[in-house]
């Protein structure tokens, strides 16, 4: 029997995929080969000029990328540790378990930009309540104005906002674990730490990898927190790749160049996340 007509049924899906994925990427690549900016609107062809500029004459982008890597890895690591700990806590039979489960999810349900504005008010060095507290001890930390501390502030806000996401995934994982290995460990006399090290953690490894990768993908796009808290400053000390691309594209209106930045960034992210996933699998699954 000839089933060739079955491909017709794939066509709508393929067209949608083409529309929402292939076309924007294709257009971005085409745009990256043009000089489109505020003065030269249009898709002229300048070859690889934008890419040459990026790789030979744009140290700021690469600095922003290194900073982003540091921010992403640090924030996701902290989110994983705290999220996993909170999930373990409410996985046990504790009082007000349901209340805590909802409470821990609240930060994720808030609007990031609005919450960042509130955090900025908290951390305002001369008018904010955080320094009101620190001034009791004669200290006035420059949360947003010191180039190192500003980075810490961004990390605090990101961890607060997105730890609940990690908590949710880890709790779902814990609730789906089979009971038998834990019973067996108990019969063998394993205490809570041994149970965690030899049973819980290995069983949770696949879901941990998934959660970490999802959060890394999201964290690598960090933009609103930086935009609202520091605008990338002081200096360029909190500038990330996505914020830099935003500046070049929508502030300076260098569409062609920002398309080259975006496409390069996409390729780097695909490669680096693939490598990270492989490393995590090796570390967390195979070693167990």
């Amino acid at each position: 029997m000839n089933f060739k007509h079955k491909y017709l049924f794939l066509l709508p899906g393929l067209l949608v995929l083409l529309g929402i994925l292939i076309f924007p990427i294709g257009f971005t690549v085409r745009l990256s080969l043009s000089s489109w900016d505020s003065f030269f609107p249009g898709l002229d062809f300048i070859g690889l000029e934008n890419y040459i500029r990026l790789f030979t004459d744009d140290l700021r982008f690469w600095e922003a990328f290194l900073r982003l890597s540091f921010l992403s890895i640090t924030t996701v690591f902290l989110q994983y540790v705290i999220g996993f700990a909170l999930a373990l806590m409410v996985w046990q039979e504790i009082r007000f378990q349901r209340f805590f489960r909802v409470l821990f999810l609240i930060p994720m349900m808030t609007t990031p930009v609005i919450m960042t504005v509130i955090w900025r008010t908290f951390f305002h060095e001369s008018l904010g309540p955080v320094n009101d507290f620190f001034s009791l001890f004669g200290m006035t930390p420059l949360w947003l104005s010191d180039e190192h501390l500003a980075l810490v502030t961004v990390i605090i806000v990101e961890v607060w906002q997105w730890t609940p996401f990690m908590f949710l995934l880890m709790l779902a994982g814990l609730l789906s674990l089979p009971k038998e290995p834990f019973l067996a460990a108990s019969i063998d006399g394993a205490g809570p730490i041994r149970k965690f090290v030899y049973v819980t953690f290995p069983l949770m490894a696949p879901i941990s990898i998934g959660a970490i990768i999802i959060r890394l993908i999201e964290a690598s796009k960090i933009m609103d927190t930086v935009y609202v808290l520091t605008s990338g400053g002081p200096g360029t000390s909190t500038e990330t790749s996505s914020f830099y691309i935003f500046i070049k594209g929508l502030r300076e209106f260098q569409f062609g160049y920002s398309a080259a930045l975006s496409f390069t960034y996409l390729i780097i992210m695909i490669i680096s996340l693939t490598v990270i996933a492989k490393i995590l699998v090796k570390l967390m699954i195979r070693s167990n």
Binding site: S38, F39, N131, G232, G233, G235, T236, Q254
Partner: protein, 512 residues
Amino acid sequence: MNKILGMGVVAATASLLAGAVQADKWSDQFPHIKNTGDIPGECSYDAMSQKDYSGQKLTINTHAVPVMGEPTALHAEQFSTLTGAEVSVIHTPAGDLYSKAMVPFQSGQSPYDIVFGFSNFIRDWKQYLEPVPAKYVNMRQMQDVTQSHIDVNSWDGEMIQFPIDGDRHYLKYRKDVIDNPEYQAKYKAETGKELRVPQTWKEYGEMAAFFNGWDWDNDGELEYGSAEVMKKDDLMFAAFFSRSVAYAKNPRTPGGYFFDLETMEPLINGPGFVEALTDWVAATKYVPPGGINFGLGDEINSFGGGQTLFSFSWDDAFVAAMQDDSAIKNKVGAAPLPGSDRVWNRVSGAWEDEYNQAPYIVWGWTAAVAKQSKNHDMAFDYLCFFANDANHQADIAIGRFGVNPFKKSDFVPELYVERQGWDPEIAKQYADTLMEMEEGSTNRVFPLRIPGVFQFNSAIATGTSKALAGQLSPQEALDEVAAEWKKIVKRIGKDVVREAYAVGVALEDNLE
């Protein structure tokens, strides 16, 4: 000529003040103008009520509420009631105003009849905008606009944007401190210098440092020296230019302030600019904690809230300080931007040891009609109505509206004394300061208005921000900016940039 002009201003002011006691049917219907009633003019309430735009729709892209967004919406509602037009107002954050209009402009679409933005967008936008028709340019309402603001809204003599707001940077200070004999004696005793309105940036820095970090107004809180816009990409480059004009705008070296017009070599890393940036880096020591991250809103709240001795930038901080609900109402003063004891001569390559001062006629809010709009008449009528005398007088009294003086008749102290309860001496000082900047100086600096203006300003913001954060020295930071400017000029084309820059240089060199 000046006498005739002066008489005209007096007559216009007299009619405005007379209007204050005339409640009329329009102020009953529109309480916004209750202080003046309708004021006769080409675009008055009465004149607009004669128009019939029923069945027609006007779409406006403006700033978010309240600054400029609130008056846009308010006047849209009034305009709709008067003319029957349907007016749709879209609010956009300041940072997106440029791109939100530019994207449809470049793709040949016309979603907006009117676009609000900043006056320094003019070179990038002008080919997409409908020039203001002669009947509006020549009307009495427009004759009242100061020449500086006619210039700011025009390109090579042709008015492209409609004047709706006036902007300039000037010095704001705590008058109750600077004029306080006790503090004058204390300052003299400890520094050997006079405490007075700072004449130079060095004096500004010394006084700000002296009054930094102690409770000089006895309110139980610490006060600081200066509140400034230092946050990267948040209009900070304009603050830097305000600080640099005194050192780098030499009236004896025409032919460019930002670039050498002949060669199009950037002058931004010259000794004058470096001196200004060195001062600015020193200023990080006398701003409130976190002052290096202050945007315009923080500056307004800080000075307007009584936290600092000095501030300089747009009108808003001064207006906020002088509002009825302010704890420091009638305790602040206005003065021209400080000058310097020496100015760089880029031709001789040496400092000239003489006092220099230069007003910075900074860019500000403006609005324009899209060339592709199908409702040019209605759109210009709306803008004309927005800026009519009654609306304008009401708008400038409301700090959050962000509408500031730009008409000659605005610079009459009695307006502020009678309408807003200002101290007469402060009102006179304010009006004189603004008027002198607008009409008195021949050493003005206008904002950059060249193709790709955002790329140039962004480079300045990044460079100066690195210096303020201590990442680079002032010279290194400005060398980096100059190198970036050279690349931008090369990308856009030296002749293209020069042609546009020449228009601004002609204004600065008083050639028109």
